[in-house]
């Protein structure tokens, strides 16, 4: 059992020290997106239909999001934001990272009226 505990500790330490993850993607600033009603998140690693569901679940936790749709071929996630929202780029980036994928870019599209 002692052998097992030592092995687990080594493995988890290796995991904690690992710098091999690139899921955070490029640095995203905390700029508010209040001027936009629609943004497009370019996400990498969406390898299957169920992965689309995973990222939808993650985005659902952001109250300011009205709806989202995913194009698996391009990795583009179109996010429609609620009126008078206060969502920031960093909040959207965190939602993508929490879902286990890599955010490559945030494109702004529809301007709020």
């Amino acid at each position: 059992m002692g052998r097992f505990v030592i092995l687990v500790l080594i493995l988890l330490s290796a995991a904690g020290c690992s710098s091999l993850n690139n899921s955070s993607g490029p640095a995203v600033d905390d700029e508010p997106l209040t001027a936009y009603r629609t943004v497009i998140l370019v996400v990498h690693g969406l390898s299957c239909p169920l992965c689309a569901s995973s990222i939808e679940n993650g985005l659902r936790k952001v109250d300011e999001i009205e709806s989202s749709s995913i194009d698996l071929k391009t990795g583009e996630v179109t996010v429609n934001l609620k009126e008078e929202h206060s969502v920031t780029r960093a909040r959207l980036a965190k939602a993508v990272a929490d879902s286990g994928f890599t955010l490559r870019e945030i494109r702004t599209a529809g301007v709020a009226e």
Partner: protein, 257 residues
Amino acid sequence: MRKAKLLTAALSLIALQSFAQEPTFMDAATHPGAGQIYARLMTFHSEMENAGTGNKSEETSSTLKLAYGMHSSLALLMDVNALKRKEDGDEDTGFSLVTLRLKQRVLQRDLGPLNTWRASVIAGADIPGTRDELAPEHVSPRVGAATTAILGRHGLNAQIEWTSKKGEPDLYAINASHLFRIQPAEFAADTAGAWYTMLEILNDVDSDGASRSDIAAGLLYEARRWAAEASVRLPVADHDWPVETDYTVALGLRKLF
């Protein structure tokens, strides 16, 4: 007995109301997102022969596999296995085992919209169930690692795991698989689901030198909120393995909450 059947039925219903590119019989480096639960209900049917006694037996088991995303790269895995065994006219049913493990992602390279390469370490233990006849007698620690690469229509998995069994030889599992997306050839904006073939090569080796190698072939349909799978596992080679399995049929449902 009745309680066990009722619980098995209840677990089945939960999963029916209820991830992916994961093959049927081995682990992959897939994780649910933070705060998400991925449920999988598997039913296995096997016919086997005890190499020592020559007794034939049949086993039908249901396993509920739950994965909870504690963090985007750390998941808690729990498997609950209920088993019904028939041997020489005797029948026994019970909960054979609960497995608790932690899965830590140690590598993630998302190479494009679809392509990714991931690896995880997995550690935990098998905990004996309620029935001595069917359950292992001691807690059995398990440590392993899995890696998954998705490249276009191809999914490749490899896994290695060590299980320490008190009073028995240690067990090493060395597995590999290939999944191929047969339909659609390319994803589109409106893709609702995908069909995959699964081919697994499954090897068990114990510290006394006994070994067995199996092959499994199956089909997986994955929709956006659920998936279904069917696979058949057949023996290829055996060296002093205590149980000779004729075949195993597996059916499964997967759901992401």
